[in-house]
Symmetry: C2
């Protein structure tokens, strides 16, 4: 893509409500545009990042055997009445009447609908366990939407649901999802900490939030620093290893505000390991047994031919929110650097162009064509600006690798720079290995 | 994927409103499940097909230089009042009040919102032309939703918008999209005929529907048969060739009901070339100039420093509807055969399994592993059923290639069958070439 062609409307005058850096950066770099309170359009640059995050989440769900389906955004109120949540949910639920006067709603979550799909499909323990997920737009009518995509009204979420015959196998499903989440966040370049959490309107008695540390976070967190030493790569995908993983995490203190008890914290965590900070919730998992399956009559036949209410859990990752969360974690000193796995482009070519000298531009186009042939997704900054303006702009766009074509590059050697590192001069043919190493 | 693990709830008792074959097949093969009137969940098999269609549509939009963004589903009523369509649109628009009492709606189309994005971003003719598109859920509150995904309320659509300085360049954009549509439908295995059409609530004076012939279609069509002889591959992607393409198509009579005039038809089309049949609309394109840009104040500076209202067109493809339309076109004599480009799996392995003999199953697993290593997306039917049940089921699932592992296959030769053709015995190593040839 040539930058002059890219639809990238950069906002210079930030609105006064853009208070946190992800909101500011996303507007300044033309990733999003607000369409109404808490509702955004995703412009090409922002959409590319979100789609890459979505794909990482999808692959890691598939890796643990979860199957993708897609439920609609608009649901009937009926099943919410069956579960008893229609009245409980409050004003955050966007309630709608259709032209026939039927009560509908824009799904804020999908426990009811997935249970309805499951109960009409699966009748025997032989088909268990099952894990199903979808990645779909949700709506929560926040009273005060703020922080850009971090707390908006229409948001993109992956929600998964597990179905098991009994508590033991259900907890194994929970552990698998726990593992998948840690893998997912690692691939996104994030260090996410699982924390015991309250279950809120979803219900149940077992729940973890996955939180990344960020000063702008809304959750206050209390933890034992040594949790950072646990390496997810030390566990393998089988029940006993995953049980050990959960035990290892649970043995270390890590809770959000709701669960915090001062004397417990001080008793369990040595002074030098105590860490009190803020974080952003990027995932939340729940085990709630038969909370929905019972009222919704979701039963399967067990080995003895008797009916069991299936044991369910639900598992959310905020895909659109992650775009903001990654910025909060990676945007420092006015320089953004996207993790390679989600960067909008693999590399950007920045030629020094002057009115009378287009030589660098034509040199850049040759490099561009060469990289394109190798299936590298490259952006060429062909805009007629001086280099300092260009570098400032790319500090916002945040592509982690730059090829700088100016006076310093020679016929054979190209100036290559990883953001926040020194540049070096390398052969064109070595670029690809730099981008994937 | 092993079929025993696939979440594929087959419906045996069809609801009485499943009158057309795509609706029936999608329920019988577990592709969709109705969640409320005109609103469906897409189960894994259905979602896989729809995602493949979406990707073909996306690639062909990118190929003509259109850029992808993503607008939200929920819009503010304000911009619809600016354009004057808020009152015009009628009851098909799903109108919503949020908790603050603001008037919102679930977007049935996006002319207003894209114009709003454009007017705040692009100020000069130098940035024109532009083509932007998104693939997003829409809602139209049909009074009588029917025919499954063909006329549902929540549907998945690609809508693109072009922005140009004047009529001439705007028509060139229209021609590009026309070309892209024919390419798209061809890749989907469909023969779509462009037909002069009415513009309806979108407006403007130039419009084509793209229609595939199907007895169950809702549109009556009148055409000159020789239109089938035009080959899109004879045109190239430049303005003069595309103008010729439009001329060639326009020279032959092809209209829907709204535009039909009997004496014109009989005058222009020779008796033996007259064709009167039914079809399904799968795409619709419009050129409407400044219909939206004027009331919404979407102006750019032209070469003389004066303000021009941008000239716009809009271009829709029904992605979810295409799943049904392809079935209507390809499901014959109780046998479905997906076009390779959108088949849910590349190939299915069907072993003959009996209680006492699992040899064919283990042979099949070896073939499965071998194909997986070659990145072939393969389904293995490991379900304990007899072969005639299996074949009946696969007549519905519709994967176009089958590997049959039974008494006839030998150590070295595998029975390979393309649906609706005779089977042959080939080497395992030759399978891949059969699937891509």
């Amino acid at each position: 893509m040539f930058l002059s062609k890219l639809f990238l409307p950069i906002t210079k005058n930030l609105p006064s409500d853009a208070k946190i850096k992800s909101h500011q950066l996303m507007l300044r770099s033309g990733m999003i545009k607000q369409s109404s309170a808490g509702i955004y359009s995703w412009l090409p640059l922002g959409l590319k990042v979100m789609k890459k995050i979505e794909q990482v989440v999808r692959e890691e769900q598939n890796n643990i055997g979860a199957q993708e389906l897609l439920m609609p955004t608009i649901q009937s109120a009926e099943i919410w009445k069956e579960s008893g949540r229609y009245n409980d949910y409050g004003e955050e639920m966007l309630r709608i009447k259709d032209r026939q006067g039927r009560e509908m709603l824009y799904g804020p979550t999908n426990e009811e609908l997935i249970t309805d799909i499951f109960r009409s499909s699966i009748k025997s323990y032989k088909s268990l366990p099952q894990m199903l997920y979808h990645i779909q737009w949700k709506f929560r009518d926040e009273i005060r939407p703020r922080f850009g995509v971090m707390r908006c009204r229409e948001f993109f979420m992956k929600d998964a649901y597990s179905f098991d015959l009994d508590d033991t196998t259900a907890k194994a499903s929970y552990n698998k999802m726990f593992y998948s989440y840690l893998k997912t966040f690692k691939r996104l370049g994030l260090e996410a900490i699982p924390m015991a959490a309250d279950t809120g309107p979803i219900g149940g008695d077992l729940s973890h939030e996955f939180i990344i540390i960020a000063e702008t976070g809304e959750s206050k967190i209390y933890m034992d620093k040594s949790i950072f030493k646990i390496d997810i790569n030390n566990y393998t995908f089988n029940n006993s290893s995953l049980e050990k993983m959960i035990k290892d995490y649970s043995s270390l203190y890590a809770v959000t505000d709701d669960k915090f008890k001062k004397n417990e914290f001080e008793k369990k965590v040595t002074k030098e390991n105590q860490m009190i900070t803020k974080g952003i919730e990027v995932g939340h998992i729940f085990y709630f047994g038969d909370k929905y399956s019972k009222p919704l009559n979701c039963f399967v036949d067990n080995q003895d031919g008797k009916k069991n209410a299936v044991k369910m859990g639900s598992y959310g990752i905020g895909v659109s929110r992650l775009v903001g969360a990654i910025i909060e974690a990676k945007y420092e000193n006015e320089i953004m650097k996207w993790p390679r796995s989600v960067s909008p482009f693999d590399v950007v070519i920045i030629p020094s162009i002057s009115k009378n000298n287009k030589e660098n531009l034509s040199k850049s186009i040759k490099i561009y064509d060469n990289l394109k042939k190798q299936n590298i997704d490259v952006l060429l900054d062909d805009v007629d600006e001086n280099m300092s303006q260009k570098f400032k702009k790319h500090d916002l766009i945040g592509i982690p690798y730059q090829i700088i074509v100016g006076s310093k590059s020679t016929e054979n050697k190209i100036e290559f720079k990883e953001v926040n590192s020194e540049s070096s001069f390398i052969d064109l043919k070595d670029i690809k290995s730099k981008l994937i190493s």
